[in-house]
């Protein structure tokens, strides 16, 4: 299993959720974060000097899914969260070894 973590623009959250839902991906955990990418944030021209605004508010979506769902989810997020401008965000995929329910004793342990 994998955890797919996407850092997206907050205003795209509704779109991304809807797009994922349409394909049957519901479960997710969402966190408000701030971040900057390799572009070092946004530069505002200000009285000659440049003011750098790093730490732009972002929304982080985390979904733990089976290995086979990773690619489709990446594509859905890309399609629904993309504006083509800097700051669109990133998707990170890492391994998960156990998923355990709390409500009951269901558990999936990877290989």
């Amino acid at each position: 299993m994998k955890t797919v973590k996407a850092v997206i623009r907050p205003e795209k959250l509704e779109d991304v959720k809807a797009a994922l839902e349409e394909k049957g991906y519901f479960a997710m955990t969402v966190t408000q974060v701030k971040g900057r990418g390799a572009q070092k944030g946004i530069c505002l021209q200000y009285r000659g000097t440049q003011i750098k605004v790093d730490m732009i508010p972002k929304t982080e979506i985390e979904m733990v899914v089976g290995d086979e769902d990773v690619r489709p989810i990446i594509e859905i997020i890309r399609t629904s969260a993309r504006t083509g401008k800097f700051g669109d965000g990133k998707i990170f995929v890492s391994p998960v070894e156990i998923i355990a329910a709390i409500r009951n004793d269901d558990e999936i342990v990877s290989e």
């Binding site: 205003e11 795209k12 509704e14 779109d15 946004i42 530069c43 505002l44 021209q45 003011i51 605004v53 732009i56 508010p57 700051g87």
Partner: protein, 398 residues
Amino acid sequence: MPLDTGDTAFIIICTALVMLMTPGVGLFYGGMVRSKNVISMIAMAFISFAIVSIQWVTVGYTLSFGSDISGFIGGLDYLCLTGVGLDGDGIPDMLFMVFQLVFAGITLAILTSGVAGRIKLSSFMVFGVIWTTIVYDPLAHWAWGGGWAGELGALDFAGGTVVHISSGFGALALALVIGNRSGFGKYSMEAENITMTLLGGALLWFGWFGFNAGSALAADGLAVNALVVTNISAAAGALTWMAASWIKGKPSSLGLISGAVAGLVAITPASGFVGPMSAIVIGGFAGILCYSALLFRVRKGLDESLDAWAVHGMGGFWGAIATGIFASAAVGGVDGLIYGNTHQFLVQLIDASAAMIYAFVMTYVLATVIDKVMGLRVTDEEEYVGLDISQHGESTTA
């Protein structure tokens, strides 16, 4: 009539109450924008009040209340408050001046609805000074300073045309010139701090007692009538807007408080002329009308962001008309349509339409000129990070 301590005490305190409405507008608006623009909204309210305070004591008061020039504008007799004394009839002339000041201040603050989250601060300040001078001051003169509307017999007890139609239709014009927020209609721009809006609404409701009752300029029966109908209309507006939105979905608290403001706006011109039962109708209808105007605005894809047009513009227009309909000689000496006085109704219609057109056209032209000269709107990047950071270098969550 010499000074009266009761009247003077009353209007001093009413002035304070109306002053508090301006930050009230800031909080009311601030809670309805995304959190990256909340400081900007509140700061613009304060800035409006500060620049109008200086404008008013130098040129604004005299342009509004100086001796009449062609029914359009006041002369410069009171430039820098020369000749405005600490004595007067009932209340000191100087008190009348400052009571009028706080009205001018809040009007500009209401107008910021149309440019929320995208106006350049410096341009707003330039715009604000000129707008107050060439839009607000003439309108105040027309209604209360000896101008044509007052002469014609148009009734505007506490500023339905002067404050609300002007700022509401002004905000509409501003929104058209500056354009929609980027992403408007495409992604959610929901209110991010509803409790702040409710607090702002509470301060507005509170201050409005000073706004309307104080407009009697004396602590008398007329002031009491204004107080009572103001509260009734607010309550009625809150309940009808809430009911209307309930039918379409959930009864939001934003609807409730917007309805209250709609009721307050609508009763403003009428509050010295109509009785309590008419106030239920005026406020109740205002709630439904302004809610419909809001839905219409949204359907048209127009980003007059915080609905000054729907609530103040349309509510103010309805209030002006309603004054012509429900006015009762028993309250304010003039009868309206329901008592058979068609004339008054028509006068109200003319007055409200004139104010509407004047405010809209002048604001449109002024905004366009300022846009050409210095640019009205921030850059895309600045809009994206929000005005709090880009215009003030501050942010709500450190």
